[in-house]
Subunit: 199 residues, 2 copies
């Protein structure tokens, strides 16, 4: 016999399909939702389907947005000649929150990973090349993650852009600010050493 | 400027109102939802509002169900003279999953907590007393949590039921099965000692 009624089971099932949500967490969330005021539950439910139905790729930078062109690409105050290449919209948001980057972005929606069978054709690389060929670009800053996949992607993009004659840079890799050396892995420590700057 | 488009921000906002979901987790969940097939997103969205609109209290045991009387209370095979009192529907589910309890339940929807200002009138205690006075009950097993609130509630119920002349029992408290003594707190160890049984 089912322990929960069918509506509750169905809710628990849906919630546990989310990443990082196991069966126990799904149960906790489900009962919390049942305890919430109906108005709030309706808002939660609607915000989920509304986001899915209304969000699409910006036709310039491919970030997720609800307009044809995202607010960043539409902003004439931004320097459209400097493009920062990131893996996904969350990484864009992370840099955007610093409030100090004046250029625009290009969202790849992934990174090259032979292990997972993700090749250059599976991410928005062709779109980046088209964009560079059509607009006046001075510098491409590669801000993919400092993982094997991110580094592979960075190298690949750098190689692609070399013949085009555009300045290509890579964000620095090293000890995070506030990081305690003794807890930092060796690869990062070596990276920090290699990338040292003169004072 | 908003980093995310309004629909995404609204989704992140709704998700981060859930328990145990901070801003970072909400972002991760939101982007996962945007990546899901539309059909799955629709199911998730609907399961949330459907559960809220269709789930109510069983009119006998007050567990959350989508019918007037829950399947357990409706089941003639269950022993309706033995009532296990639990704090919430999740605790009911936990015992139900053991598959070995043959009686029925009573869900309090909380526990007495002077700290949080939850008194006996705020949980389904009056309903328990009414139910006991109206039906033929042999034993009430108190299975509230082994916390301060759970224990207070257990004592309170035991006191209420004493004059009624019904057998009242409390589930055992002690070392969990598979538990390693050295990692178990002192209070539990003392409880286990007090509650020792002869072999």
């Amino acid at each position: 016999m089912e322990v929960y009624s069918s509506h509750i089971s169905r809710l628990i099932g849906s919630l546990s399909s989310l990443p990082g949500v196991g069966n126990k967490t799904a149960q906790r969330l489900a009962f919390h939702i049942l305890d919430m005021p109906e108005e709030d539950v309706r808002k939660l439910s609607e915000s989920i389907i509304d986001a899915k139905l209304n969000v699409r790729y910006c036709k310039e930078c491919y970030t997720l947005t609800d307009e044809e062109v995202c607010p960043i690409c539409r902003n004439p105050q931004r320097d459209h000649r400097v493009i920062m290449v990131v893996e996904n919209s969350r990484d864009l948001a992370a840099y955007e929150k610093t409030g100090r980057f004046e250029g625009v972005y290009h969202v790849l929606h992934g990174a090259i990973s032979p292990m997972l069978g993700i090749g250059p054709g599976d991410i928005k690389l062709k779109e980046l090349m088209t964009r560079i060929s059509e607009t006046d670009v001075e510098e491409v800053i590669i801000a993919t993650n400092s993982s094997l996949e991110g580094e592979t992607t960075a190298m690949y993009i750098a190689k692609l852009l070399k013949p085009v004659g555009i300045k290509v840079s890579r964000i620095a890799s090293g000890v995070p600010v506030g990081g305690d050396l003794e807890y930092i892995d060796e690869v990062t420590l070596l990276r920090a050493l290699e990338g040292r700057t003169e004072l």
